[in-house]
Symmetry: C2
Subunit: 356 residues, 2 copies
């Protein structure tokens, strides 16, 4: 019997509401397929921060290291500044475990209404491959003349050849494996004098090794415009930490709701645990109301099982998501329905059971 140990960090806000639904679906499918999942829960969160002054205890990362994967809800809540909570929990996990690939599929499902006029199922179907551990996300920098009119704040981005090339290689490989073999790189080399011309030069160098892949690149400003004007154009998108972050929120918004979007923080060589979470955040405005959409979390769970080599579990869960969205009876508010978080989770379980 296949067996996996999963670290579960529900985190803050709606993270605590969607994670149980993810586990419910995981358990259903695991049982059907004779796979054993052992969960260990960690209550690390902004609440922990208020109690202890830390988002996770000392040695927290070492505790996680032994697990096969990490299943995370969302981090961040009013009362703790965002840079404290995120640099105290989510971002250190990505870095400590060298989860340098952030893979984010974006798909318009049958049954969902795109805010873009005239788009239907299949018109939006791409991956965002986001560099996940360096680039613009950096705590290098600081403040000079603090508290005076002369205050100067510096914020440094770091791009390494190692970091750039390995994310590009991942993206080129993914593009190469797909029908369209089309890679679009986000840049801003006209404004950001050092980092982005460097990124572009590495894209060009890597493209030499993948002659079958059609490559184009857009400055991030027009990239966002094009995503709205012609989402069909995209197949695999590759971007830096910041640009990938932006495009992987805008993309899902074009599919009707960002709440269905999953985020796989992958350490491709399996040396460390990878982490799976929804793209959405803790959403303090709707937390505690049992109306959050669990699909982003459930889809993330499917990606987790795929990463662990259980493709069947992935496919079964995805089929369940497709069925429930197409059916339309049990959708949450963001998808135009009235179902609760739990009712949607239940519907997923039922659909999966019915199909097998």
């Amino acid at each position: 019997m296949k067996e996996f140990n999963i670290a579960v960090i529900p985190g803050d806000g709606i993270g605590m509401e969607v994670i149980p639904e993810g586990i419910k679906v995981l358990d259903t499918v695991a049982e059907m397929q004779g796979i054993r999942l052992n969960y260990t829960h960690f209550d690390w969160s902004c609440e922990t921060y208020h109690r202890t002054g830390r988002m996770m205890p000392e040695g927290g990362l070492e505790q996680l290291q032994a697990f096969d994967a990490i299943f995370l809800g969302a981090v961040g809540f009013p009362g703790v500044p965002d840079h404290i909570s995120l640099w105290g929990l989510l971002l250190p996990i990505r870095r400590a475990f060298d989860q340098y690939v952030n893979l984010r599929p974006v798909r318009l499902f049958e049954g969902l209404q795109s805010p873009l006029a005239g788009k239907k199922e299949g018109d939006i179907d791409f991956y965002v491959v986001r560099e996940n551990v360096e680039g613009e996300y950096s705590n290098i920098g600081g403040i000079q003349y603090e508290g005076t009119d002369d205050e100067i704040v510096s914020q440094q981005s770091i791009f390494t050849r190692k970091g750039t090339d390995r994310i590009l290689r991942y993206a080129f490989e993914l593009a190469q494996s797909r029908d369209k073999k089309h890679l679009s790189s986000a840049t801003k080399s006209n404004g950001l004098f050092h980092s982005m011309p460097y990124w572009d030069s590495r894209v060009e160098a890597m493209a030499q090794q993948y002659p079958e892949v059609k490559v184009d690149q857009y400055h991030i400003d027009i990239f966002t415009a094009n995503l709205v004007r012609m989402p069909e154009h995209y197949d695999v998108i590759v971007g830096s930490n910041l640009f990938g972050d932006i495009l992987s929120d805008l993309g899902p918004a074009c599919t009707g709701t960002i709440a269905i979007a999953p985020s796989a923080n992958i350490n491709p060589d399996h040396r460390f645990p990878s982490m799976f979470e929804p793209v959405h955040g803790s959403a303090p405005d709707i937390a505690g109301q049992n109306i959050a959409n669990p699909i982003g979390t459930v889809w993330a769970a499917a990606m987790m099982m795929q990463h662990l080599g259980c493709d069947d579990m992935h496919d079964t869960i995805m089929q369940g998501i497709e069925d429930v969205i197409r059916n339309g009876d049990s959708l949450t508010r963001d998808m135009g329905g009235t179902a609760s978080t739990q009712a949607l989770g239940d519907a997923l379980v039922k659909a999966i059971a019915a199909a097998h």
Copy 2:
């Protein structure tokens, strides 16, 4: 008789095609209203770079300084790396003349089709106020271990209190002057550890001085998503150089075409000339075909005249733009028509003459 000296820099690509239409419209209205406009043309461009190794001659900035305003087409063309062309021409003008405000109105006109489902005239009507001379656009940084596998590139952003506060003040004043009195600030304080928490703290400090202005803030990722999901929500948007750049391309894309969007690079205290240009770039893919949309340039011309104190000229030009778009007979391809650049320019002239 009011008289103004305008420096004209058509630049590259379609910049050379749209600027003559802007001048045609300016001349029509100036004559009607008894205003005299003297133009001095500068052929600074990537072509100049190929000839001389510089985007503009030595002393170029000094030459511009005496003018009342600068009217610019677009900069950048394949064959010259973007960071060379832009840091050689557009960006130094913004900086030398302390054009720290980049003001970009975004409006859905009657007669244009938004790519967003169900949006009509009036649903999209906001300003992007973009910091224009510091922030992420920086040539501080460089490369270490160049050419080796250990390459490290650093790119530094700089935010000063002076630079941050003055753009925020401009944005708060603008919001204060509008019906909705609503300001939305773009941030990414959860990822960018130093710059964005600082930006947020200055927004909070400034908000104290404008108790009537309703302030909200969004991380740039969800901001782009919201712009597509609920563009009606926005009134005045304020963002850093990079975030303002992104939102002011995405916004116009939601109004049907980015080619109508104007960009006013303003030195508010009139110590130096301000610069007016379309938001779109040189568009090498359609250059030389006489199909570029001149409306962004014409709208920029209107903003130029407003900045120079000629509100009537501004209003007359805007009326002409509205009439021609509503009428629909002479639209360029990007707006769903078949008219040439010149035909659309002629239609604007005719509409303006007919209305007066």
